[in-house]
Amino acid sequence: MEDPITLFKNSIEENGGFFKFVNRIELINEIKKISKGNEIMFAGLDESIENEIIKSDIKSISLDKMKDDRDLKNKIKNINIGITNADALAAESGSIILVDYNYMKSFAAFLPEIHIAIAYPEKIFPGLIEALNYIINSMNELPATIQIIQGPSKTGDIEKKIVRPSHGPKELYVFLIR
């Protein structure tokens, strides 16, 4: 039996995503490399990670702080990198689960060309059903939405040829924090 981290890595890579096991310093460097000086948006991150992003020279905005802005859609529509936490991961299927009370995580995960999800090893479960069980049991109240993401967006609608991206992100990264 493979360990859950390797299993998750294999699954998400098979699904077309990228995976890396990093420490906090490496995480910030990875985000810098991916964002190449462009602005990023984030939602649902741990305060400590949020602070490190803000402290770094990465240009960033917090969607959690902007959730009541009525013009939000227009302000973020051209931002091409979105970062969210992952509330749980499922190793077998390579799933990233987002628990979203106000749609900010959904915006950060679906609108940009690149989605980066940040997770901790203790949030990896063997299968999707176990991961969902954990999510449901740990919630006091149901969120507006739970999103399960299993790769970058794709379509096979023309002659079944698989093409990425379709309407969602082209690239999906999962960084697991040591």
Partner: protein
């Protein structure tokens, strides 16, 4: 009329391009499905579980609806039961209001009741955001297959269909998809209403579950202020876990090793300034509850594998049927459409039984078709 079906089939047999498209797409169907099951070996057991669950729930679908309704209700959430397509369309028109722009994701029930055509007739701008459905919309046609609606369209034909709206050079499938992405993005951002179908509903959490690969469902269910979900009564399951399992079984048997997105919608945010403010769920009966003799049809989770494995479908694709085509499409036509139309279609079935072998719900499709063949005028 039997002759009409015959005529349509002859026309499609003469269309070389269409036949090549259909053959190309169905060539690997068996391999795709077996590969997907190998990747998710538990899907076979889940399929059995789902069948047993459905068997119990379908003994009293009205009670399932009432139970679901109780757990669904909440602030900003509205639920409707529509006995047929006409009623569903009236409800939806009232929710949407005229002069609005709609971004729509795939909904087979929407196709069944010809929702898009009805909304367009009422002056509403509707954009089918699923690539396959968009191609079908542009040619003013109907989907050929449950999961891949434009399964019969070759690359060349797709390019010709897209060019008038995308107006860019598109050398390959990648550039076509990117062209559509750019075109649709503006629509997602400015639309008033998102419409989507659902794969499953769960009684324990009052959730709506739907899956997409393209991310069109992600955008149409999160960006517009109103979200309208249309589905049918046989999609209700006791728990969220069952609903997820049913959705995954559907994609695995459709031959996908991986589905990109599983969306679970429970409600609208509290005091929302962004994201949907209203969630409307329309559950359609349209002949499902009343029909006892073809009841087994309601086990169908619409994976489409019976269509792809059907030797007739491979040759004539969407020409064999109206909204629901080939194999299980015939009993579905009998239930949701006219029995006489279903009977005309049924005569083309060879009773070869391949559909029954591939069906995850082990529905005796040939027997259902036989029953329809024997139906009196």
């Amino acid at each position: 009329m039997f002759q009409d079906v015959h005529k349509k089939i002859i026309i499609s047999l003469k269309d070389e391009d269409l036949r090549n498209g259909s053959r190309e797409a169905t060539r690997e169907e068996m391999k795709n499905r077996l590969d997907a099951i190998k990747r998710h070996p538990y899907a076979e057991d889940w399929a059995k579980e789902i069948k047993e669950i459905k068997r119990k729930l379908l003994l009293d679908p009205i009670k399932s609806f009432e139970d679901f309704k109780k757990s669904f209700e909440g602030e900003g959430k509205y639920i409707y039961f529509a006995k047929d397509g006409e009623e569903a369309k009236k409800i939806i028109l009232k929710i949407i209001g005229k002069k609005s722009t709609v971004v729509k994701s795939k909904s087979l029930v929407g196709e069944e009741i010809e929702l898009r055509q009805f909304l367009e007739m009422n002056g509403i701008n509707v954009y089918e955001t699923d690539l396959g459905e968009f191609l079908v919309q542009l040619v003013n046609g109907k989907p050929a297959h449950m999961v891949t609606p434009a399964v019969n369209m070759t690359e060349g034909r797709a390019r010709n269909v897209l060019y008038p709206v995308i107006k860019e050079r598109m050398d390959d499938v990648v550039s076509m998809v990117l062209g559509v992405r750019g075109f649709m993005r503006e629509k997602f951002l400015s639309a008033d209403v998102g419409i989507t179908g659902a794969n499953a509903l769960s009684i324990d959490t009052g959730s709506i579950v739907f899956i997409t690969n393209e991310g069109n469902g992600a955008l149409s269910s999160t960006l517009p202020e109103k979200l309208v979900v249309i589905t049918s009564i046989e999609k209700i399951y006791p728990s969220l876990k069952d609903a997820i399992k049913a959705s995954i079984v559907q994609t695995v048997y459709a031959g996908f090793k991986n589905t990109t997105y599983i969306h679970i919608i429970n409600g609208v945010p509290k005091e929302p300034k962004n994201g949907p403010k209203e969630l409307h769920l329309i559950i359609v009966d349209n002949g499902r509850i009343g029909d006892i003799s073809l009841k087994e049809t309601l086990y169908c989770i619409k994976c489409g594998s019976c269509q792809l494995s059907c030797p007739i479908f491979r040759e004539v694709d969407g020409a064999w049927g109206e909204i629901y085509t080939a194999a299980i499409g015939i009993p579905w036509t009998a239930i949701t459409g006219k029995i006489s139309v279903a009977r005309d279609l049924s005569y083309f079935c060879l009773q070869c039984g391949r559909c029954k072998e591939v069906c995850p719900m082990k529905i005796d499709i040939p027997n259902l078709i036989l029953k329809i063949k024997r139906e009196r005028f």
